[in-house]
């Protein structure tokens, strides 16, 4: 699961006024907060959502805080738990620490005490997240592939790429996850007059707000605790080249304000710096989100949208260009066969048919992974249907035949949800149901958005 950028907190207390006041205070501090009235409800909620921090009262009916803590240590070992206990119940706090609680607070607590405890936990969880993100980045950095297709929508896209490459206009690329938006951006750069300059990509969705700020703008030595050296930001590095802002729909409102200013003036300062820097870069942004919907929901600024959406290119999902599937499949087959030193040189017509029938919620990236897996498991010279078990239609595969309709639905929703990075709107659109129905099904099947 990808790490959450926004810290999510669960407050568990049987006293409604405590739940309300504590959650209200935490929300004002910018956290996403849910509440539960007892341990049983809290456990049920942790099955549906991931919480980074949990504030749990010790004395509660149904299931007390210490029992809840024991259970959480088995099911949610990464969550940081703070126990809340009344004065005079220090033994409970000691027991809680023995059971793995991060800290405890004596009720009623001081504003400063609460603030310090939450800040500590946020730092702890943010570090854990960043660790995951950096590992993920290292894995994706090594991959490269070409844009391939001969279907009408792809031919139209190639034409648009050639046209837009000659200009310096800002481009917004939209398309589902795995369709190859970065490849489109690279193609524009490669055919533009800036092709001898750098192509600097940044996945805006993969960073916390402060890390993204430092990555984009750079920082001076001593700008924050870990800034032992001054560092150039991506804006500076993209001078005379192209800056690719991937997952632009995921950036915070504050970063949107900063970015808008930079896009207007091309001037900025490093974090902790006072010198105004200028960089000559062309901007290409990409997103799998519906930015118009984000504007309506006030999570994306309209002025930034207009600034980015000077030229709009849409990369079609793989299911809308089925005729490209054999071409792509053979391309990946050649690549992985060479990499693994295997003599596989063809795909059985039945397997090719199965590939064309499948919906590919994860698009080209999912196809690439499917072929890679098939190459690994195949011992002969040809990829067969059996090498692609997960895309076989229901009824053709013995394992699938044993599944109930509900289980099939659960698996299908989970797969598409994962392929869309948890985006409810696009998942609902692909499934052909409305968002409310999707929420109900997510809750019913205990899935994580």
């Amino acid at each position: 699961m990808l790490p959450h950028k926004k810290i999510r907190i669960l407050v568990v207390d049987d006293e409604p006024s405590i739940r309300e006041s504590l959650s209200g205070w935490l929300r004002q501090d910018g956290f996403e907060v849910d509440t539960a009235a007892d341990g049983v409800a809290a456990l049920a909620m942790t099955k549906e959502n991931h919480y980074d921090i949990m504030l749990i009262d010790v004395k509660m009916p149904e299931m007390d805080g210490l029992t809840l803590l024991k259970k959480l240590k088995e099911t949610e070992p990464e969550a940081a738990v703070v126990m809340m206990t009344a004065h005079g119940a220090i033994q409970d706090a000691v027991d809680a620490m023995r059971l793995g609680a991060y800290d405890y607070l004596l009720k009623p607590f001081d504003l400063e005490e609460l603030s310090l405890t939450v800040d500590k936990l946020v730092r702890l969880q943010t570090l854990a997240m960043e660790n995951l993100i950096l590992k993920d980045r290292m894995a994706t950095m090594t991959r490269f592939e070409n844009l391939i297709g001969q279907s009408p929508p792809m031919l139209a896209l190639f034409e648009a790429i050639v046209d837009v490459a000659q200009t310096d206009a800002t481009v917004l690329i939209t398309g589902e996850t795995g369709t190859g938006k970065e490849l489109v951006a690279r193609a524009i750069h490669a055919q533009s007059p800036r092709c001898y300059g750098p192509f600097i990509a940044i996945n805006c969705g993969a960073f916390t707000e402060h890390l993204l700020e430092s990555e984009l703008f750079g920082h001076e030595k001593g700008a924050f605790t870990d800034a032992k050296f001054a560092k150039k930001g991506r804006l500076e590095m993209a001078d005379a080249g192209t800056l690719f802002l991937d997952e632009i729909g995921d950036i915070s409102m504050k970063m949107q304000i900063d970015l808008l200013r930079v896009l207007e003036t091309h001037e900025f300062s490093r974090v902790g710096g006072t010198v105004t820097l200028h960089s000559d870069f062309r901007v290409i942004a990409a997103t799998n989100r519906d930015l118009k919907e984000a504007i309506a929901q006030k999570t994306f600024r309209q002025d930034l949208y207009y600034r980015l959406n000077v030229v709009h290119l849409h990369v079609p999902p793989l299911r809308e260009r089925v005729e490209d599937i054999p071409l792509l499949a053979h391309h990946f087959l050649r690549r992985f066969a060479t990499e693994t030193n295997k003599k596989i040189d063809s795909i059985h017509p039945d397997a090719l048919e199965a590939l064309k029938r499948y919906g590919w919620p994860g698009n080209v990236r999912e196809l690439e992974n499917a072929i890679e897996r098939a190459v690994v498991v195949q011992k002969g010279r040809q990829i067969k249907v059996d090498d692609l078990p997960f895309i076989t239609q229901p009824g053709q595969e013995p394992a699938a035949a044993k599944l109930t309709l509900e289980e099939m639905e659960r698996q299908h929703i989970a797969r598409i949800l994962a392929a869309q990075g948890g985006n409810i709107s696009t998942t609902a659109k692909i499934l052909g149901i409305n968002r409310t129905t999707l929420y109900h099904k997510i809750k019913k099947y205990g899935l994580s958005p």
């Binding site: 009623p108 607590f109 001081d110 504003l111 609460l114 603030s115 304000i257």
Partner: protein, 212 residues
């Protein structure tokens, strides 16, 4: 929303009228919206915690809303008593995020809790910061982590004193957006650095200035 949107100040229990007057002038200067001192209200007994000898700020917000019929865009309660919410030992003030009411207390800024007696200008400055901060919440602003920003969280008087009497560039933009979306036209759109009303100017002097 008309251009005549105004902020209402309500004394909850006995509050020095001079403090309210200076607060009114400073809030008008800061937000560019007229602030009016509204009819004072008694402190409702049911909001008092007998053991803690404090008043429940969340209940005071509900009381403010129930008693306010002035048509004010936002109403700010000012009280001299100490405030609390059940989970915290005390609060300087409380506001409804994106709501209509906010309340602040003079009790701790005036040094009643720690026995200090800071100069009147310091007390006023603290109270103004609290008032602007809590009203900021009613205008949809959350706590801000920008250094010195008035929307930053300050759990102690020391930290409150270190905050600027201004919003950071982000909060300024977000507040301006908030007003723009609701067609509210403040007199200006820069929420930074105002001068406090001169402590030396007596009430009738400032009234004469207004007539001129």
């Amino acid at each position: 929303m008309s251009q005549r949107a105004f902020l209402g100040l309500v004394a909850l229990g006995p509050v020095d009228p001079e403090i309210l007057r200076r607060l009114r002038i400073a809030l008008t200067k800061f937000f560019g919206l007229r602030a009016k001192v509204l009819r004072p209200q008694p402190l409702p007994e049911q909001t008092r915690h007998i053991v803690r000898q404090q008043y429940h700020s969340t209940q005071l917000l509900e009381y403010l809303l129930a008693t306010n019929t002035s048509g004010a865009l936002r109403v700010l309660g000012v009280t001299a008593v100490d405030l609390y919410i059940p989970i915290l030992t005390f609060v300087f003030g409380e506001a409804q995020l994106n709501g209509q009411a906010a309340v602040i207390s003079l009790y701790r800024p005036r040094g009643d809790a720690d026995g200090t007696s800071p100069p009147q200008a310091v007390v006023l400055r603290r109270l103004l910061k609290l008032g602007i901060h809590e009203l900021g919440h009613t205008f949809g602003l959350g706590h801000c982590r920008e250094e010195g920003c008035l929307m930053g969280f300050a759990p102690t008087l020391e930290k409150l004193d270190h905050k600027n009497l201004a919003f950071c560039k982000y909060c300024q933009v977000l507040l301006a957006d908030f007003f723009l979306e609701r067609h509210i036209s403040p007199h200006f759109k820069k929420y930074e650095g105002i001068l406090l009303p001169d402590a030396a100017i007596p009430a009738r002097e400032s009234a004469r200035k207004r007539r001129r």
